[in-house]
């Protein structure tokens, strides 16, 4: 690997990292604004024009708040919890193909930090690790609400990972590859060989299962049982204050961003867009592709929020019923249908 390659990768990592943080930051603003619109309100509008500076004000507030570590909390793990949560949330962005190749002079820049051939498994691993942040934080707080929230998070994530994995298996039957870069490349354009090229049209049921599981994995409403304030005060982050609380909340938004990106890549064609072959300049296609990918991601984030402000929270037994008795059988049926279709057609 040459020095320029290393520098390019390094810059790319920083850019991706910065973008995920900025998107997460402005997701908090978007969430408040969108919630307000859904409820016929105005939302934050005091800090800067249209309240655009609200996330900065929130961040400053978080940093300036008093830092409280409960006397009976396990000191080291209490700090490890939120750090782990935000770490695992951030590293998922490494394998997502943000765009095609960009050619500047003689250097070719691949807009994907690393295209490992087990990209999906990597994402799964990272998502599974994410629950440790919640689990450790909830346990280290030495508070029964926190512990209950953490236990709920763990069992919920385990239950929904199974059906998520099964829905992905059906997708893998279609794509024949685990690499996210290749899956995105396969969905070139919008229409190919007399059918839509995006995977959502080949795997509608799989996508439905995947998106339900994504809601559960990111602990978003209607599956936000680990932190439901009406039952568990604040769930796993009851005892947290200051920026450690901020890290937990931030990790949730980064998770939402990353899972939106994964859904856009796996099912909605990633950086591909209709009529991309009609544009002659490859660099323009790449740039437009990035724009389209982000448009898809933002649409998914909006959908996350739309659902949050529409559907009430599940009861815990209903959540488990849905996960084990509905989604897993449905995912298995989906695999059988997909396999049959591939074999005979």
């Amino acid at each position: 690997m040459e020095l320029t390659d290393i520098i390019i990768k390094f810059v790319l990592i920083i850019v991706v990292f910065a973008i995920s943080l900025v998107v997460a930051m402005y997701s908090t603003y978007a969430e408040r604004k969108i919630a307000a619109f859904f409820q016929d309100r105005v939302g934050p509008n005091r800090a800067g024009p249209f309240g655009m500076l609200q996330p900065l004000a929130d961040g400053a507030k978080m940093f300036l708040k008093e830092e409280i570590i409960p006397t009976n909390a396990s000191g080291f793990l209490f700090i490890v919890g939120p750090s782990l949560a935000i770490l695992t949330a951030c590293i998922g962005s490494a394998v997502i193909p943000w765009g095609q190749k960009l050619t500047i002079g003689s250097t070719v820049i691949d807009l994907q930090v690393t295209d490992i051939n087990v990209g999906i498994l990597y994402i799964f691993g990272v998502v599974s690790l994410g629950v440790y942040g919640i689990m450790i934080g909830g346990w280290a707080s030495n508070n029964k609400y926190s512990l209950l929230g953490a236990i709920r998070a763990a069992s919920q994530n385990i239950s929904y990972e199974i059906s998520m994995g099964l829905s992905i298996i059906a997708l893998l039957l279609v794509t024949g590859s685990l690499s996210l870069g290749e899956i995105a490349a396969q969905q070139h354009g919008f229409w190919a060989d007399g059918y839509f090229s995006w995977n959502v049209f080949k795997q509608p049921l799989g996508f439905l299962i995947f998106i339900v599981c994504a809601f559960a994995e990111t602990n978003r409403s209607p599956f936000d049982l680990p932190e439901c304030e009406t039952e568990l005060v604040g769930g796993y982050h009851t005892e947290y204050s200051s920026m450690k609380l901020g890290f937990y909340l931030f990790a949730e938004y980064i998770n939402m961003f990353i899972s939106s990106a994964v859904m856009a890549t796996l099912y909605f064609g990633g950086y591909n867009f209709p009529f991309m072959d009609q544009i002659s300049s490859p660099n323009l296609v790449t740039i437009l592709g990035v724009v389209f990918l982000f448009a898809k991601i933002f649409a998914f984030i909006f959908f996350f929020m739309w659902v949050r402000w529409t559907i009430p929270r599940f009861r815990y037994d209903q959540l488990m019923d849905l996960g084990w008795k509905v989604l897993i059988p449905l995912a298995i049926v989906n695999i059988v249908i997909t396999a049959t279709a591939i074999t005979f057609f």
């Binding site: 969108i34 619109f37 016929d40 105005v42 739309w306 402000w309 529409t310 559907i311």
Partner: protein, 165 residues
Amino acid sequence: MESLTNKKKVLEVKPLNFLERAYLPAIVQGLSITMKHFFKKPVTIRYPEEKREFSENFRGMHSLKRDEEGRERCTACGLCALSCPAEAITMTAAERQKGEENLYREEKYAAVYEINMLRCIFCGLCEEACPKEAIYLDGDIVPADYLRKDFIYGKDKLVEAPLNQ
């Protein structure tokens, strides 16, 4: 038993059909309802910049009136203070000196007139008690402040602006 009003309806609890159990149509329905609200005009009134219209008999901050020649009407009789159920009003009377006829209408006037806005309940009894039509609660909402002492309004805040000669 026969009910007295005959308005009783017996509801049958039917088992849910497949579409209802599948839950997704209900979600779509809910999402469309929230989406309708997304494009509605917000009902919020952005208070300091925008104000809701007051009713005609709204009782706000007090003002001490002047007569048509611009003289203060108040004669410091103390009836408003006496009528005040919250005991928010205090005043000190003074005698009008020669040469002050253009300032005060009566021979006695209020040298100090204070209303504690934290005590005032805006009942309007002072308005009713006043024989000189000198006090009216026709002002705005009393603004917020940081210190209790700043809520005791003196004549500087209460007396109407002088007429323009």
